[in-house]
Symmetry: C2
């Protein structure tokens, strides 16, 4: 018997909906296609990708199939996502088509609506897999070798084949009469390298990893190189943080202490290997099929990953040890992907303007903009870019980890249960990621909260929580403002509200941390405008980037003075642009080569050395006063 199926057809909007009668034993995907409802199915409905996933909005969510688990991973399965090609509902359900993941991977954060349109990127990862039939040495007088026969068949020279490949060559060549699958990498700069030789035909298994190593958070994304589709992603705290939350304390830990340097180095390599294992588990992809890795990060993270002593990055004149783009075999960094996989590190600009800033420039297309635009990458070591196709400036904005939820009493990363949206009227109202029980505050929630508390006069423009004046507040709000010992606090979530949930508070010190963070970023923007001679009126667009996980509210960012007071339509949140820049370089050697040209163009502005900086920074720590 047919079951009623309602499909919400716009990924972002629950309004447009269609209801149809789904024949028995028919998948949602087939039913939708029969009714001419478009659901993308990149793999042809074989459960091999994630493009057809839907989210259950009403009705019983069916148990996940094995393909759901492999392709979507635990988190999405728990959030009610399923692959529509695998799902045959037995009762009336309502599902919403999800935004195709690959759209995020592909999107170049070009100038926003009203300025220029969005572009796409050509897929040319440099990684090529081909099935090759090699004529083996046949008789004793024939003076040749496996490698010579192989190189001749492939059109390369023996020197293009590394040791790790050679070690498996004789077995692979003789195992399957159909031939071997050879993976090569043709770097943008020229030269071809053989990365792997595999038995039989594995030509369709071709993956890459884009990694964004932040001071506080690390994000790894697995991408199918042929389609550019994002298959899985993992993010976690940078485990180096236990040795120092911000860059300077991390450098101080490593400074002139080889053992500590080694600790930092092995922690990040270990984490990347955990990410690789987890991402392979999620996606069902074998680690040996990952042939290219692109890593971005600030200069210090970059040096620590390579085991390079960053001591002098932390001392004037803050020069990096190296800046050029690097391509290394994975085995040299002990990354557990294909041993000869190429690990590409994007170039650096200065001691505190790293490959992440270059990646942001790349993803935002700021370097080709006709008008002046600003990109603000919010992170523990935030970076600001200002410019156009004519000139491009950058500075660091050492915000500290507050806006990533760290060093905040009840801060957390943007994960399940994080408060990501807050509104304040006569009380405080919260929304959490996955609508789960609230566990803490992430960056976007923190910014919303402060904006709301400022509007409600719970906090004054200097950042002081108004304990003395709380009587003037609406009763519910007033009750939340308390003194605990000597500390001013705002209680966001009371204990006992819904069972055993712990109390979540915002402390006076948390407010100060946010002030330091937003002061650093706002003064960075002001200084670049100052140096470049660009008043607010000439800023065509300000792009707010960062790994907040969910979109940060522009209104809230303006309210707390994180960014200059531009008209809201000239500001937009562009997501984790650094990670996106890494993904662009992963799927496109053209982009990776462009990164080098862009990096060479960026002019570094050193804030601390500028006579006007201190005054601007102190001013920027305060919150804007309502005009």
């Amino acid at each position: 018997m047919a079951v009623p199926l309602t499909i919400l057809t716009d990924p972002r909007d629950p309004a447009p909906r269609r209801t149809l009668a789904l024949p028995p034993a028919t998948s949602i995907l087939k039913g939708a296609h029969a009714a001419s409802i478009e659901i993308t199915a990149t793999c042809g409905g074989r459960g091999r990708c994630t493009s057809c996933r839907v989210k259950f909005v009403a009705g019983t969510v069916p148990p996940p199939t094995i393909m759901d688990e492999i392709q979507l991973g635990d988190d999405q399965v728990r959030e009610g996502y399923r692959l529509s090609c695998q799902c045959v509902p037995g009762e009336a359900v309502t599902v919403q088509i999800a935004p195709p993941l690959e759209e995020r991977a592909f999107q170049i954060l070009g100038a926003g609506p009203g300025v220029v349109g969005m572009g796409n990127v050509t897929l040319d990862s440099g990684i090529r897999k081909q099935v090759v039939k090699v004529g083996l040495p046949r008789e004793e007088h024939h003076q040749t070798s496996d490698l010579e026969q192989f190189a001749a068949a492939l059109g390369v020279t023996p020197a293009d084949v590394g040791l790790a490949v050679l070690q498996g060559l004789p077995g692979a060549l003789r195992d399957d009469p159909a031939g071997v699958t050879v993976t090569t990498f043709a770097a943008a700069g020229g030269g071809e390298r053989v990365l792997a030789v595999e038995r039989g035909d594995t030509a369709s298994m071709k993956f890459g990893l884009a990694v964004d190593i932040g001071t506080t958070s690390v994000v790894s994304v697995l991408i199918e190189l042929e389609s550019g589709e994002q298959l899985a992603s993992v993010s976690s705290l940078n485990p180096q943080a236990v040795f120092g939350g911000d860059l300077m304390s991390r450098i101080a830990f490593a400074q002139f202490n080889p053992d500590n340097l080694k600790k930092l180095h092995t922690r990040i390599v270990g984490l990347l290997n955990q990410h690789i294992a987890e991402i392979c588990r999620q996606s069902g992809v074998l680690a040996k099929w990952i042939y290219k890795v692109v890593v971005v990060g600030n200069t210090c993270m970059h040096h620590l990953l390579l085991g390079i002593d960053p001591s002098h990055v932390g001392l004037a004149p803050y020069a990096p040890v190296m800046r050029h783009a690097l391509v290394l075999p994975a085995r040299e960094l002990f990354l557990k992907v294909a041993p000869e996989a190429r690990v590409c590190l994007l170039p650096l600009v200065a001691g505190f303007v790293g490959a992440d800033a270059v990646a942001v420039a790349l993803a935002t297309r700021i370097y080709e903009s006709a008008e002046v635009r600003i990109a603000v990458d919010i992170g523990t070591n935030g970076e600001v870019l200002l410019g156009s196709r004519d000139r491009l400036w950058a500075c660091s904005a050492p915000a500290g980890p507050a806006l990533e939820g760290a060093q905040i009493r009840h801060g957390m990363r943007a994960a399940l249960g994080a408060i990501d949206r807050v509104t304040v009227d006569d009380d405080v109202h919260v929304h959490t990621i996955g609508e789960a029980d609230a566990l803490g505050l992430c960056g976007s929630g923190l910014i919303d909260l402060l904006a709301g508390l400022l509007d409600a006069s719970v906090i004054d423009w200097t950042g002081l929580i108004q304990v003395e004046g709380r009587a003037a507040l609406p009763p519910k709000l007033s009750e939340r403002v308390v003194m605990r010992g000597e500390e001013r606090q705002v209680i966001i979530l009371r204990p006992g509200e819904a069972g055993a949930r712990a109390e979540i508070v915002l402390t006076q010190d948390d407010v100060r941390q946010v002030q330091l963070a937003k002061g650093a970023i706002a003064s960075g923007v002001l200084m670049l405008q100052h140096v470049a001679g660009v008043p607010d009126a000439r800023v065509a667009e300000l792009m707010l980037a960062g790994g907040f996980g969910n979109y940060v509210s522009i209104a809230s960012a303006l309210r707390i003075g994180l960014i200059p007071p531009l008209p809201a339509e000239r500001i937009r949140y562009v997501g984790n642009a650094a990670a996106l820049g890494a993904q662009l370089c992963l799927v496109s050697e053209t982009e990776r080569q462009r990164a080098e040209r862009v990096a060479a163009r960026i002019e570094h502005v050193s804030l601390a050395a500028h006579p006007d900086f201190e005054r601007i920074f102190v001013d920027a720590m305060n919150f804007p006063q309502p005009t």
Copy 2:
């Protein structure tokens, strides 16, 4: 008061002697020079080399100085060697000038006396050390990095500097105002690579390692690259031998068994690291000052060192996995020298004609000879070369390890206590290395012994020990020929002859092993002569090479039929030519480049595939009958 000093002035001959009165507190070197006795002192008498070493022949050997221990090492110190520049005797002594070590390192085994003269080799190891002063980044607006400043000062590009060097760069650059010492390698084929950056001035510390990996024995030699002087050497049994004495059994052990392959690989890498540690201890050289390593070995040893599966080398058509010359960073092979040191592997010819044969061709200059010459490299996997500047043939001669003293009841390597010379008249007389108590028989002793026993009719031409006919022998000799159980034996050294020494015997099975070995080599020579159409009369010279440790007797080699019956003056023993070839490539990139051209010219002759081989081999197993 002056002391009487007698100096035996010819390194090889105790006859020419001079006696002089050595003034008090005067070194032997100074005294000798004052008396116009020539003793080489490469370092100018500062205890920095070994060229002035003397051996104490009479009188009390003085306790070793620290320089004696560093430069000469335990073994030579124990044998009574001292540096004459450091030694001030307090009583009458007699010393013998030692053959300068560097003479061995330099010598090219060109055509023998009466054919062409000996040549020398130009020292151009490709390794260069220079003190460089680098202008560090000085101000914050200066967009540069340590590496860019360094590369500009040195005239290289950042990509020429590897990760292991980068890791130490910032510290080294800032540590010493005098500058840093930079080691570079300019390979013969072109391209320059930065191998190390060291604090201060270490420009005079520049060393290399030549390694000959044989199936049974491994020899490593440390060479000062500026002078070409040999500073120390270590040899030991190949620890892989416990998994199979000859190549075929070693390959069978590894065949299609990755765990066993790994065992063989780690054993040889582990041994080389032991050699490096020992050679550094002997010489006082730090391992980080070793920047170039040249390795030769047969194809199987070469593959196992690289961890390449040799399974198919042992199966028809016996093709190697690769043949080209390879240059790798030492860290990739986990060799504990400078991490970026270049490990150079010479090219291979075929599955059983390896880099060792190429090294022999190089060291003997056979490739440029106007007349046809033959080089016989005796080893477990022996190799024979025949040719001239016109054409060059090679074949393998799988002798087994007997002539290296292995798989012989009382066989041993040519080390202290090995019987290296034997004469047989009415009894058996032995000489041992270091004139120490006899511990066993090494290759040269074994060949002497069999030749003597053949002449004395203790063994007949088929190799049978004549137990039945022993009554016809002289009484002492007769007593030595015995039956033990079912085995025929010749007792070489009786127990109790000099205290607690163990019995040393030659068994019937030992004789058979030597017959197999010499049959393989002799038939290899015959086959090449056959294929090339070169009768004995056209052979201008036969060079007998091998790591016997001491010179093998040509007369004995002829007597047992190891080599064809040429006039003795056309035969000479040229020592360990493979190891010498490695040393040539270590001190000279010109030679290393030449090795590739020579390897490409060698025509491989496959014996087993030849219809006449079996007949020739069976004949060659017998001993020559006196004519």
